[in-house]
Amino acid sequence: MKFLSEEWIEKAKKIATEKLDPEKDLKKATTSLLNIIENIPPDGKTVYFYLSVKEGNLQEMLINQSGSLLDKNAEFVVTGNYDTFGQIFKGEMSTLIALIKNRVKIKGDKVKALKFVKPIDKINDCLRELETEF
């Protein structure tokens, strides 16, 4: 299953809803995040991957290429290239290291964003269970 394909998103939504505990894993967080993933091979397109949680419950997980998800005005916008997001999803690099290494740029309140690093890493851990082809 190709990373960030429609099928992947559907499965990701399902597994995240089933497996993540709103309190233990997602710390009852309420926030929204838009990942802008650039340079996706083979033709270098950009994909917008939006997710929102409310009180630790996954609300939306959306993906498109049109940029319309920018209108969602996510609390945080994280921009980086495909390889970096791949490394984060594969668990080869933490979100924070990617930030410190300038591999991703973040827009939004950084102090608040750092509070969500752990819940986001939990989501990534969970999604890693999907058989993903990068």
């Binding site: 091979p41 970096t84 290291i97 410190i100 300038n102 750092l114």
Partner: protein
């Protein structure tokens, strides 16, 4: 390996076993290589001995002495197999001995033995032992930008960057590229961006070599992708009318200073081996000369950068949005650069004929700071810093053992724990002399430099024991009649100091120490060839940062850093305290020394780093050094005003999680 030789060992031994036998011959070389700490001074002609001919010709770190050290280690541990380029690297060494002279002066090592062992090892190999490394598409593409010669994926070339940009466990999945122009850098970045290839630029690698030995390795190093080695961007143009210099990112601090001195001017530079552009962009140039010249952004006029999309940006571009703005919040931690600097135009400052160095010795830091801050606030002293006796000893003594004994004597007999180190003109000199009870002048400093081995040998002498019982040993030794006795006892001469070097190098070092600049304290401050001695066969990690220049704050910071160092059983000492902004801010460097070959020592260092960072961030008015990284191009007004308030408990908790994440990779 010849048939004849194989038969002499029974002919039954497999090729692997034969290789193992030959590899055993690398053992001695590996022992030397392990002690190397990659100060990068072998790439600077600081002794006028010339430069490694192979390194100069071929460029890649692999062809320089420090690179060969990593190659030998990698071969010995089976990290790499012999390749065709390895043969070229090994045989490019002419065994000219330049590296021994340079390295021995700084680290007391003999790297030529490593090069010889490598050469002997590869020349015993058969053609069939040589692995061929295919040129893949990525390499082809990069080579089409920079030329075939200047990009490589050969493991022998790659491993030579271990510990200066890549971690030891990172493998060899890298490319090294040596562009010649900003345009080539931009093209490679565009290519990397389009193809999702991570990359990281590198100057001479000294700062990275320090951080890669710590828990910050994963955050500062490169895990795969393209290594930029910038040695080929070598523009160096002096504009005499405007008193500026335009330099490419491949120019070292030493090279610029040498050129500036020809025109009777001085640049604000970092350590001799640092690529100056990189140093400006990374930490903004931390120097004792900051008292007059300020820091990085006070000194550069224009900078050329390549951004993450491969666009060339100049600070002087009219369309550029404010490039100087940054913030000092604890979340703004950046351990790799967001843009690549390729060129800068920097200010040059006048040199005065009456410049002179004065060192005022003190027993207590408290008293040293009183005088230092009085001078800093009045802009007295072109260069002004508080230094510890440890720092002085490390710099002027030719070996670690001599430095230790020198420091012991300074502290225990002379009661000289700290020195106020001032470079002044004749007007400042009058003021300093009026304010100081005792001072060490240039003649005495010359005696201490050339006589350092002799002084160290007096550790058990009655003369020093008697001296230590004086009411004020500093006054007695430096201003009283005992000065004459000390100078006689030191017997300072190039002959004397050269005796601490290996016999075959003594003539060379006699000539080196006969040169006036080697004992000229002003020259040594300008060219900064001695700080690398802090990395002499062991490593150090600096702690501290910029702090509001308040005496109590500085003393408390010093105390905290000492206590933490002691707690983790790390040899530790204040390095120096310098000043900027009319004495408003001080930079405090406190050093933790550790054995880079001892895992336990690493572990204790890492714990000390985490603990000190947490404690530092609680201090109101302190900006830890980590928060200055890659902010050197920004205006200090953005970075230092206002100074941080100190973190709340909630913020400290988040910081703790950040640190855990960094440590965990």
């Amino acid at each position: 390996m010849t048939e004849a030789l194989l038969s002499t060992i029974g002919g039954k031994m497999t090729l692997d076993k034969v290789l193992s036998t030959e590899k055993a011959e690398l053992e001695e070389a590996v022992k030397i290589a392990n002690k190397g700490t990659h100060c990068g001074m072998c790439k600077v002609d600081f002794l006028e001995s010339g430069l490694c001919p192979a390194g100069k010709k071929h460029g890649f770190a692999a062809y320089w002495p420090e690179g060969r050290m990593e190659i030998v280690k990698a071969l010995y541990s089976d990290k790499i197999k012999p390749t065709k380029e390895l043969l070229e690297i090994a045989n490019s060494c002419t065994i000219c001995g330049i590296c021994d002279k340079q390295c021995n002066f700084i680290t007391h090592l003999r790297p030529e033995k490593v090069s010889k062992a490598l050469k002997e090892y590869v020349n015993k190999l058969d053609d069939k032992d040589i692995v061929t490394i295919p040129e893949n598409q990525t390499l082809k593409d990069i080579r089409s930008i920079v030329g075939e010669r200047w990009a490589s994926n050969d493991p022998a070339v790659i491993v030579s960057y271990t510990k200066t940009i890549i971690t030891e466990d990172a493998g060899v999945n890298f490319y090294v590229v040596m562009p010649e122009t900003t345009e080539e850098v931009a093209e490679v970045v565009k290519y990397a961006d389009k193809n999702n290839i991570p990359y990281l630029p590198r100057g001479n690698g000294t700062l990275l070599s320090m951080f890669i030995e710590t828990l910050l390795a994963k955050a500062v190093g490169l895990e795969k992708g393209i290594i930029f080695d910038f040695r080929r961007l070598r523009k160096l143009e002096i504009d005499i009318d405007n008193k500026t210099a335009t330099i490419g990112v491949g120019i070292t601090a030493f090279e610029l200073q040498k050129e500036a001195y020809k025109h009777e001017m001085r640049a604000l530079v970092a350590e001799a081996e640092a690529h100056l552009c990189v140093n400006i962009a990374s930490v903004g140039i931390i120097s004792t000369w900051g008292n007059t010249y300020g820091w990085g952004s006070d000194n550069f006029i224009d900078a050329t950068l390549v951004n993450s999309k491969g666009n060339i940006v100049r600070h002087s571009d009219e369309e550029v949005s404010n490039p100087y703005s940054t913030n000092n919040k604890f979340t703004n931690l950046t351990l790799t650069p967001s843009k690549i600097i390729t060129e800068a135009t920097v200010k040059l400052h006048p040199i005065f004929e009456d410049e002179e160095a004065l060192l005022i010795p003190f027993e207590k830091l408290d008293d040293t700071l009183d005088l230092a801050m009085t001078l800093a606030k009045r802009n007295i002293g072109l260069s002004l810093a508080v230094i510890s006796s440890k720092y002085l000893s490390e710099f002027i003594c030719p070996t670690n053992e001599i430095a230790e004994d020198f420091d012991f004597i300074a502290q225990n007999y002379l009661k000289m724990n700290y020195l106020l180190d001032v470079i002044c003109d004749k007007y400042d000199k009058k003021t300093v002399q009026d304010l100081a009870d005792v001072f060490i002048d240039e003649n005495m400093m010359k005696s201490l430099i050339l006589g350092s081995p002799r002084l160290a040998s007096l550790k058990e002498s009655e003369f020093l024991k008697i001296l230590s019982e004086e009411k004020d040993p500093l006054k007695a030794i430096f201003t009283g009649p005992m000065r004459k006795h000390l100078e006689k006892a030191l017997d300072p001469s190039p002959e004397q100091i050269s005796k601490v070097f290996d016999e075959d190098l003594q003539d060379f070092f006699k000539k080196v120490y006969s040169k006036p600049e080697m004992t000229d304290v002003v020259w040594l401050h300008s060219f900064r060839i001695l700080p690398s001695r802090l990395m002499r066969q062991r490593m150090f990690m600096l702690r501290g940062g910029y702090i509001v220049a308040d005496k109590e704050k500085i003393l408390n910071l010093n105390k905290m850093l000492k206590e933490t160092g002691d707690k983790y059983k790390l040899s530790n000492a204040l390095g120096f305290i310098s000043f900027i902004e009319n004495g408003k801010f001080a930079f405090v460097e406190y050093d933790y020394y550790f054995d880079h070959l001892d895992p336990d020592s690493h572990n204790r260092l890492n714990q000390a780093i985490v603990e000190t960072l947490q404690l530092e961030l609680k201090i109101k008015g302190l900006l830890p050094i980590e928060y200055v990284f890659h902010k050197g191009l920004h205006r200090k007004e953005h970075l230092f005003y206002p100074m941080p308030e100190g973190l709340s408990d909630d913020e400290l908790k988040i910081l703790g999680e950040m640190v855990q994440s960094v440590v965990g990779g």
